[in-house]
C-alpha cells in the first residue's frame, strides 16, 4: 500500500485574485481553515507581478474536482461559491508560466517538489530588504 496523495499540486494566485483563490482552496480543501491558504504575495514574475503560492500533496481526484461544478463542502457550507467558481474559471493547469490573468497550476507526481514547480511557473521569491 502507498499513500493516496500521489500528486503534488502547486497553485499560484496573482495578488489581485488572492481572495477568490482562497475561496477555491476552501472548496477543494479538507478544512474550514483553507480560506487562509494564500496569504502574502511573496513571489514575482519577470515583469514584477506579484503572486501568492500554495503547494501540497493531493489525491488524484483533485484534478477531477477542479474541473467539476463546485459545491460547498460540509466543513464550510456558507462559503462564497461565486468567488470560488470565478477562480475555478481562471485555472490554467500545466499550461505555461504564471501570468496575472490566470491562476496557474502545476499538477505533478508527488515526488516533485514545490521549488521546482515554482521555478517552472517562472516565479522567484521577492527579495527581502537585505537580499536585494
Amino acid at each position: 500500500m502507498t499513500t493516496k496523495y500521489q500528486q503534488r499540486a502547486t497553485i499560484v494566485a496573482p495578488e489581485s485574485l488572492i481572495a477568490d483563490a482562497n475561496s477555491l482552496a476552501l472548496a477543494l480543501g479538507e478544512s474550514a481553515a483553507d480560506d487562509k491558504t494564500f496569504n502574502t504575495a511573496s513571489y514575482q514574475d519577470a515583469q514584477g507581478n506579484l503572486y501568492a503560492v500554495a503547494s501540497t500533496v493531493a489525491k488524484p481526484i483533485f484534478a477531477q474536482m477542479a474541473g467539476q461544478p463546485l459545491k460547498a463542502p460540509d466543513h464550510s457550507p456558507d462559503m462564497d461559491l461565486v468567488a470560488a467558481t470565478r477562480a475555478q474559471g481562471m485555472l490554467q493547469i500545466n499550461n505555461g508560466i504564471a501570468n496575472p490573468d490566470v491562476i496557474a497550476v502545476i499538477l505533478g507526481d508527488n515526488t516533485e517538489n514545490a521549488k521546482d514547480h515554482i521555478e517552472a511557473l517562472g516565479l522567484t521569491p521577492i527579495p527581502q530588504e537585505d537580499e536585494l
Binding site: M1, T2, T3, K4, Y5, Q6, T10, A25, G29, E30, S31, A32, A33, D34, K36, T37, N39, V53, A54, S55, T56, V57, N110, N113, A114, K115, I118, D130, E131
Partner: protein
C-alpha cells in the same frame, strides 16, 4: 499497551532490550522522555518516528499511514498534551521516509503549538535528518512553529522543548534518543538552517567542518548575544550568514579563509562593538557586509585585496571614528560604502584606482574635516559622493577625468572655502553639485563642456562673488543654477553663447549681479539664438539700456524674461 508502557525493563529471554516493536510500530522504549517533564514541567516532545502519533487531519481522524501523507496533527508525548497541528490543509508537512516530516519552505508548511502565558525559557533539543543539537531558547507565549519552514536540515525528526534549562547530561541523553545518528559533520550546505530562529538564545558548538555554504544560516537569530567558534574552514559563501543578529555583542575569530562571498554577512548586527581580524583574503563580494553595524567603534585591518564589490559595505557604521588602510585595489564598486559613517574624523589613503562607482560613497560623513588624495581615475559615477560632508574645509585635486555624473557630489559641504580645478571634462550631470556650499569664495574654471544638466548646481553658494567663464555649450537646464548666490556680483560675458536650451527659470534670483553682469548674461542669451526660453533674475542691479535691448530681442523670440527693476 498500558502494561508495556509502564514497564521499567523488557527482556528477550535473559537479554535486556531497550525497544520493542509491533511490526514497524515502536510500542515500548526503556527511555522515558516523560521523565523530563515530571513535576509539572512545561514543554513538549514530538517525534515523527512514532507514527501512531501522526494524523493527516488537524482533528486526528485519519492516521498517517504512508510516506507522502500530509501531517495535520502530531501528538505531544511529554504528557502535557500540547499537540501540534495545521488547520490549513495546504500547509501541512509531508510524512517522509525514513520517518520524518518534510516541510517545504516554498509553501510555508509547518505545524504549530500554543505556548502558554509567560512563555518558555529553557532548552530545545532538535533532531533533523542532518544533525541533532541543543539550544537555549526563550519562546514568548502564543503560536510557535514546529517542523516549520526553516529547519536545520532537510526534514524534521523530533523535538524536545522544555521550560526551564536542562543540564548538559540531560540534553546528551535526549540527543542520543531522538537523533538519527547524524551530527551535522557531513553537511555541506547550511543555507537557511537556523534562519529566523528568534527563540534561540545560545548556540551549540556543532561540527560544521564540511560546510561550504552558510548563506542565511543564522539570519534573523535576533536573541543570540554570542556565537561559538565553529569550524567554517571550508566555507566559501557566507552571504547573510549572521544578518540581523541584532544582539550579538562579539564575534569569534572563525576561519573564513576560503570565503569568497561576504555579502550581507553581518548586516544589521547593531550590537557588535568590535570585530575580529578574520581572514577574508579570498573575499570578492563584501557588499553590505557590515551594513548598519552601528556600534562598531573600530574596524580591523582585514585583507580585502581580492574584493571587487564594496557597495554599502560599512553603510551607517555610525560609531566608527577611524578606518584602517585596507587594500581595496581590486574594488570597482564603492557605492554607499561609507554612507553615514558620521563619526569618522579622517579617512585613509586607500587604493581606489579600479573604482568606477562612487555614488554616495562618503555621503553624510559629516565629521570628516579633510579627505585624502585617493585615486579616482576610473570613477564614472560620483553622484552624492561627498554630499553632506559638512565639516570638510578643503578638498584635494582628485582625478575625476572619467567622471560623468557629478550630481550632488559636494552638496551641503558648507565649510569648503575653495575648490580644486578637477577634471570634469566628461561630466554630463552637475545638478546640485555644489549646492549650499556656503563658504566657497571662488570657483575654478573647470571644464563643463559636456555638461547638460546644471539644475541648482551652485544654488546658495552665498560667498561666491564672481564666476568663471565656464563652457555651457552642451547645457540644456540652468534652472535655479545660481539661485541665492547672494554675493555674486560679477558674471562674465559670452557664457551662454552656445547653450542648447533656454531653461533659465529662477537661474539668477536672489543674486547681487552688477549691471555689467546682468547685461553680459542677457546679451549672451541673445547670441545663442535660442528661442522660447525663460529667464529670471532678482536682486542686484537692473540691466542697462544694453540689457533692455537684449530683453526686447529675447521677447521677440518668445522668451519670458523677468529682471531686477521690472523691465
Amino acid at each position: 499497551m498500558p502494561i508495556l508502557n509502564q514497564a521499567d525493563s523488557m527482556y528477550v529471554g535473559d537479554k535486556s532490550v531497550d525497544r520493542v516493536y509491533l511490526g514497524v510500530l515502536e510500542v515500548w522504549s526503556a527511555f522515558q522522555m516523560s521523565s523530563f517533564f515530571a513535576n509539572n514541567k512545561q514543554g513538549v516532545y514530538f517525534d515523527s518516528r512514532k507514527q501512531s502519533t501522526l494524523f493527516q487531519d488537524a482533528a486526528g481522524n485519519t492516521p498517517v499511514l504512508y510516506a507522502g501523507d500530509p501531517v495535520g496533527l502530531m501528538l505531544d508525548q511529554s504528557g502535557n498534551e500540547i499537540n501540534a497541528n495545521q488547520v490549513t490543509s495546504w500547509k501541512r508537512p509531508i510524512y517522509a521516509n525514513p520517518a520524518s516530516l518534510d516541510a517545504s519552505i516554498y509553501s510555508s508548511d509547518f505545524l504549530s503549538i500554543l505556548i502558554p502565558t509567560g512563555g518558555w525559557q529553557g532548552t530545545m533539543v532538535l533532531a533533523t535528518d542532518t544533525g541533532t543539537a541543543s539550544y537555549g531558547v526563550d519562546i514568548p507565549e502564543g503560536e510557535y512553529e514546529i517542523a516549520g519552514k526553516f529547519n536545520p536540515g532537510n526534514t524534521f525528526i523530533a523535538i524536545v522543548l522544555r521550560d526551564g534549562a536542562m543540564t548538559n547530561t540531560d540534553t546528551d541523553i535526549v540527543e542520543t534518543n531522538i537523533s538519527n545518528g547524524e551530527s551535522y559533520n557531513t553537511a555541506i550546505s547550511f543555507n537557511n538552517y537556523w534562519r529566523d530562529r528568534t527563540e534561540i538564545t545560545s548556540f551549540p558548538l556543532i561540527d560544521t567542518s564540511s560546510g561550504t555554504s552558510f548563506n542565511a544560516a543564522w539570519y534573523g537569530c535576533s536573541s543570540l548575544t554570542s556565537f561559538p567558534l565553529i569550524n567554517t574552514s571550508s566555507g566559501t559563501s557566507f552571504s547573510s550568514a549572521w544578518s540581523s543578529c541584532t544582539l550579538l555583542t562579539e564575534f569569534p575569530l572563525i576561519d573564513t579563509s576560503s570565503g569568497t562571498n561576504f555579502s550581507y554577512t553581518w548586516y544589521n548586527c547593531g550590537s557588535l562593538t568590535e570585530f575580529p581580524l578574520i581572514d577574508t583574503s579570498n573575499g570578492t563580494n563584501f557588499s553590505r557586509a557590515w551594513y548598519n553595524c552601528t556600534s562598531l567603534t573600530s574596524f580591523p585591518l582585514i585583507n580585502t585585496s581580492s574584493g571587487t564589490n564594496f557597495s554599502y559595505t560599512w553603510f551607517s557604521c555610525s560609531s566608527l571614528t577611524s578606518f584602517p588602510l585596507i587594500n581595496t585595489s581590486s574594488g570597482t564598486d564603492f557605492s554607499r560604502a561609507w554612507y553615514n559613517c558620521d563619526s569618522l574624523t579622517s579617512f585613509p589613503l586607500i587604493n581606489t584606482s579600479s573604482g568606477t562607482d562612487f555614488n554616495y560613497a562618503w555621503y553624510n560623513c559629516d565629521s570628516l574635516t579633510s579627505f585624502p588624495l585617493i585615486n579616482t581615475s576610473s570613477g564614472t559615477d560620483f553622484s552624492r559622493a561627498w554630499s553632506n560632508c559638512t565639516s570638510l574645509t578643503s578638498f584635494p585635486l582628485i582625478n575625476t577625468s572619467s567622471g560623468t555624473d557629478f550630481s550632488r557630489a559636494w552638496r551641503n559641504c558648507y565649510l569648503l572655502t575653495e575648490f580644486p580645478l578637477i577634471d570634469t571634462s566628461n561630466g554630463t550631470s552637475f545638478s546640485y553639485t555644489w549646492s549650499n556650499c556656503y563658504s566657497l569664495t571662488e570657483f575654478p574654471l573647470i571644464d563643463t563642456s559636456s555638461g547638460t544638466n546644471f539644475y541648482q548646481a551652485w544654488i546658495s553658494c552665498s560667498s561666491l562673488t564672481e564666476f568663471p567663464l565656464i563652457d555651457t555649450s552642451s547645457g540644456t537646464n540652468f534652472s535655479y543654477t545660481w539661485f541665492s548666490c547672494t554675493s555674486l556680483t560679477s558674471f562674465p560675458s559670452n557664457v551662454f553663447d552656445n547653450v542648447k536650451s533656454g531653461n533659465f527659470s529662477w537661474a539668477f534670483n536672489n543674486t547681487n549681479l552688477s549691471q555689467d553682469s546682468i547685461d553680459n548674461i542677457l546679451v549672451s542669451l541673445v547670441t545663442s539664438t535660442i528661442g522660447n526660453g525663460t529667464f529670471h533674475q532678482s536682486g542686484g542691479s537692473a540691466p542697462s539700456a544694453t540689457g533692455e535691448s537684449a530683453i526686447n530681442t529675447l521677447r521677440s523670440r518668445g522668451w519670458s524674461v523677468s529682471v531686477t527693476g521690472g523691465y
